[in-house]
Amino acid sequence: MSRITIDPITRIEGHLRIDCEVTEGKVAKAWSSGTMWRGIEVILKDRDPRDAWVFTQRICGVCTTVHAVTSVRAVENALGLEVPLNAQFIRNMIITAHGIHDHIVHFYHLAALDWVDIVSALKGDPEAAAKIGASLSDYAGNSVPEIRAVRDKLTKFVESGQLGPYASGYWGHPAMKLPPEINLLAATHYLQALEVQRVANQIVTILGAKSPHIQNLAVGGVANPINPESQSTLTIERLFAVKTLIDKLGDFIHNAMMTDTAAVGALYADWTQYGAGVTNYLSVPDLPLDTKGTVFELPGGHVPGDLNAFKPITSYQDAYFRDGVKEAVKHSWYDYTGNAGALHPFDGETTPNYTDFQEDGKYSWVKAPTFYDERAQVGPLANVLAMYAAGHEPTKRHLTKLIEVASSVAGSPIPLAALHSTVGRIAARTVRCAVLHEALQNQWQLLLDNISKGDFDTFNRPVFPKGEVRGFGYHEAPRGVLSHWVVIKDGKIDNYQCVVPSTWNAGPRDQNDAPGPYEASLVDNPVADPTLPLEVLRTVHSFDPCLACAVHLVDEDREPIVSVKAM
């Protein structure tokens, strides 16, 4: 038996430590530990609820927008405040553009390097790569000169020794299986994706008035005055500039990212056997189409393993969602008053009790959320399964297409059930990205149509009553269900809890000692070489880990900050 500790597994998104017990080349037991305390609740206490979003968007450097949007939704929910249609559409466009940005960056710049061998790509023949590309789609960026230019650039870069994002990659690892031409094709799209993600980010910047921290939100709407005539506000001209950017994204997502994902899925088909973990899935509907949040462009809900048992979540007042969420701290570095087993977020407590890492006791700063006392997996896979079960046409179409292309590359049909896996999570993220792109186009049209009717409203003023009100807001964020829970007393915040996607997925064992999704998904993963645990990283990275606390300290002493210990 050997033991692997990877600490931390991410940097920019926060601190995550993974411990695995490996027996006979397989993970037998795993622990997921968030190593930093996040106490936004403490900072928000007694503040004006209208300001909460400004602080919550600082929780994380990757998820700024999503915490901002969820926060205003929570306060609006507490007040029963409706949001003007224009504000909904503008928020929806920001959400979708951000989601597209996030999914592209995750697939190409974070996850792809677990599967694509850049050093092998240097040996790829540009003409053969272009031929493979042409056989998969008619994407314009697969030309021989383009691919050759990328290969030359990469060669120069690797030879310079400044490996940058490629340093400490697992090149030549026995688990790397793509042929050089596919590696080269993926590397070409990797570089193109840099440009594409910028375009998605520009949409957020235009609508959000600033990036990386948007400035345009308000409890009750958005602060974008709409005036088709004026130059200083959201004009028709500016909206058409946004449309041009939206259209730029389409070709890449539908013809490069979809086929790359299908190829990785097909050529790593063995990874459809690993990483299922917790198959109780939770997602929420998003992109509200009315002022109250009762009609949504994208469905969401609870998939308890079986698609036929799908239970939709249908509104911002949904009691099934509201009453199902709890957080346990038996294995987390907190104490609850009276040793309560698990608490609802409205009654949530954040009292730290650090004990050191105890594998049978407390070992994480992350709490363990449950949905009706069961662990639930969140994220694009949960969302795609829910949307599929709800009969959402674009989801069905994109998922079917992806599976068809993957099956043709693999030379044998891939069943829908293959999605319950490490590779399935990656595939679902790409499907969701394609769905979001269509939704973004639609939201743009809805906004334009509504303005054309002469409706320029973007804001309803919030009024805070005397006494106590409670509210929750949710958002299907790039990493899954994000919910904020607020208790307001006499116009001031009395309690505030964020139940974030990575809490659902990265949480430690719960009050019944049931492992969280990261922990469960790692069990039975192969590990060829405990000192180079690429397989463990593949499964954890497939969740797109983000622990929402992002200490961003630079180290003058030049100490390597990632340590892999194999004992």
Binding site: R11, I12, L163, P212, A550, E556, D557, P560
Partner: protein, 166 residues
């Protein structure tokens, strides 16, 4: 000369946000010419690629961990120091500033000049305000940034009345 002055850090964790505080103060106190942009980058990574791309110079203000300096000290890193200092911290799954710069380098859009102004923190506890040490460091860092701008040929006038808020 297009220059970006970029403050990085998490303002929820006291001195971790010293870089953000420094650039905010700088932006309020100085009337800078249009070719200089001051940006609060928070703890973002890839989201900053678009902002950094194509600038001639990048001045980063950030909290910096250092064993040989005391809290509140400032440090200026440039040239080979930056490369060397990033080299030990790289990994394919941690897209921080170093990765963004490496990617920009590969695509030919990296600023020719990159300078890091670091502030050594005293506290990383939860909280919105700076420790007295970091408070001093923050002011010293502003001075270093102004010197850097002057070196790059930018003259910054002090605003007659500071801007109230962003």
């Amino acid at each position: 000369m297009r220059i970006l002055v970029l403050g990085l850090g998490n303002i929820l964790l006291s001195d971790e946000g010293a870089g953000v505080h420094a650039v905010e103060r700088l932006g309020k106190r100085l009337a800078l010419p249009p070719e200089v942009e001051v940006l609060d980058g928070g703890t973002c990574g890839m989201e900053l690629l678009d902002q950094i791309s194509g600038r001639d110079a990048l001045i980063v203000v950030d909290a910096i961990k250092s064993k040989k300096r005391k809290p509140g000290d400032t440090v200026r890193l440039a040239g080979a120091d930056i490369d060397q200092f990033f080299r030990t911290r790289l990994s394919p799954h941690q897209l921080g500033l170093s990765d963004v710069l490496a990617l920009l380098d590969m695509t030919g859009a990296k600023p020719a000049e990159v300078v890091i102004v670091g502030i050594v923190p005293a506290s990383l506890d939860l909280g919105l305000s700076l420790s007295p040490e970091a408070e001093q460091g923050c002011e010293a860092a502003i001075g270093l940034v102004i010197a850097e701008l002057e070196r790059l040929g930018v003259s910054a006038a002090t605003r007659s009345s500071p801007v109230a808020a962003e």
